[in-house]
Symmetry: C2
């Protein structure tokens, strides 16, 4: 459970300054791109990005969201005197009728945990294919998944080892769950044992839905003299490449906190590693066949070392649901 609050998710997103200020900068610093343009805000929430676009000179903004938050967004847009500039529509992108046949710019904050979990990317791609004019812009337009290996003995014991003895009982069935469900949590940069590795990049102009079931190789180079790897972590960076001066933010452990935190995949074994050794493998992710909003993730790994006593490899299945 968490701090209970009905619109808590919107509050948390607005208060995530890394997120919101990146969008604000991308829009305000590029008024030449927004001036007199028709803009579509996919999953507009409280309407903050729509209002940024109006301030940047957009001719008209259409905000679409499935949630009842759209009622609050209407009140907010009215409080800011922008009702003639912003059309807010509640419903699915596939079902709503837009007041313009085409839009010049698609604006969206669609990213979920691990970039793709419960993300709205499919909806953005639908909007792109149906509404974006040829040569139109997408904000943001590039997303990259990164990985690293971390030392996490203490917390792993608390999260995984806890289930060995719960008030005197054997709770190992939940240990299995804990090991197969990635954990979304903040990771300290000092826990990182390897360099970060760029694993998978999405170009919003060209990606199609089918590309989101992917398998991508990774190579993690150990940067500590002697250490242990208890988990692999993933995060993502976001880029607005259409900007005059490119704007970028990261949700990695080396960057300022964001509400996306990092995603932690615990290994069942502990890798004992030395500097300049590498951990290689594949990151695979695809929507679950039965429940499209769930993600099936498989991570294979192999420690490349000359020391036969420390050799290790495996393949682990995870599920975000």
């Amino acid at each position: 459970m968490h701090s209970y609050n009905h619109h808590g998710i919107h509050e948390e997103m607005l208060k995530d300054e890394v997120r919101t200020k990146s969008y604000q900068n991308a829009i305000y610093q590029n008024k030449h791109l927004f001036k007199d343009k028709i803009v579509l805000d996919v999953g507009c929430g409280t309407g903050i990005l729509s209002m940024f676009a109006v301030k940047a000179g957009a001719r008209h903004v259409i905000g679409v969201d499935m949630s009842t938050i759209i009622e609050k967004a209407k009140e907010i847009v009215e409080a800011n005197g922008m009702t003639t500039k912003i059309t807010l529509l509640q419903g699915k992108m596939e079902e709503v009728e837009l007041p313009f046949p085409k839009v010049d710019i698609i604006l969206s904050e669609w990213m979920g945990y691990f970039l793709l979990y419960e993300s709205m990317l499919d909806t953005v791609l639908y909007a792109r294919d149906k509404y974006l004019v040829t040569g139109g812009l997408i904000f943001p337009d590039k997303a990259t998944i990164f990985m690293a290996g971390i030392e996490d003995g203490e917390y792993k014991d608390e999260k995984i080892g806890f289930w060995d003895n719960v008030y005197g009982f054997d709770y190992t069935p939940l240990k299995h769950t804990a090991l197969t469900e990635p954990l979304v949590d903040t990771v300290e940069v000092k826990a990182c044992v390897t360099d970060p590795a760029r694993v998978f990049t999405i170009d919003l102009y060209t990606v199609i839905s089918a590309d989101l079931a992917f398998q991508a190789p990774y190579v993690l180079k150990v940067r500590k003299p002697q250490d242990f790897i208890h988990a692999l972590i993933a995060w993502f960076d976001i880029e607005f490449t259409a900007c005059h001066k490119p704007i970028h933010f990261s949700t990695g452990p080396h960057s300022k906190y964001t509400h996306w935190k990092q995603t932690v995949f615990y290994l069942r074994e502990v890798l004992t590693v030395e500097e300049n050794e590498t951990v290689t493998g594949f990151l695979m992710s695809k929507p679950n066949e039965k429940k499209k909003r769930d993600l099936d993730i498989t991570i294979s790994y192999r420690l490349e070392t000359d020391d036969p006593s420390r050799q290790a490899e495996g393949s682990l299945d995870y599920k975000m649901c």
Copy 2:
């Protein structure tokens, strides 16, 4: 959003030692009450209370839960060699068929935020009326809601004032929401400006569903020389009075952290108070007519003071949904 984890709620509840150890003590210290008894665990979750009851000598325990967690509970019960002692049933209490016509003890951790929000108390009462033998026991059997007044200027500004200016926009429509939705959060004991006041007590043996729509008077006595009251807070205490040595725990600000935290009701005005003055009023709570799981809460208040310049009174409506 919060630390993402599928069974996270069960982990958080198990790791809430104030909660779980109180149940453990109430059961383990009273083996004379559990020996050879038939026990019903309402909303059994992972089965921890059921297993406590078996360890305390129960003849048989029936655990009922609507959630799919029951599948994990079955695995856990099996891992602990208790499958012959515990029957786990997935479904609504109103619909499942118990293997015994009557039970000697009802065990349940049914409490929600503000005691009653999304609580399972109705289900416990249904089980009591249908299954509990005459003279049977309920663990726990007493719950009391308390209130106090707090100084909370800084946080109120962060939670409420935030909406006045969000990246340059007027978000007062969400300020209204923030003021009418109680906030579940931890309150420091030093923030308390008044004595705690006992407001509403539930006796699990005699209460009926209709009693849960209630209006109760309260009197809060100011205990600081000069201070301000920005919010009223509520919490609850839980008692197991059937125990040989009574067992009790509190979710108040003066007690150790529990996952229930406290519930904060911000006032629209600030009360300027002096020692020995009182704030009096009524706490009213009832299930929302349309959505029975939502709570409509009204708090009236009046500052009793000889200083006419500081007199204040009002009545505020809140909604937990």
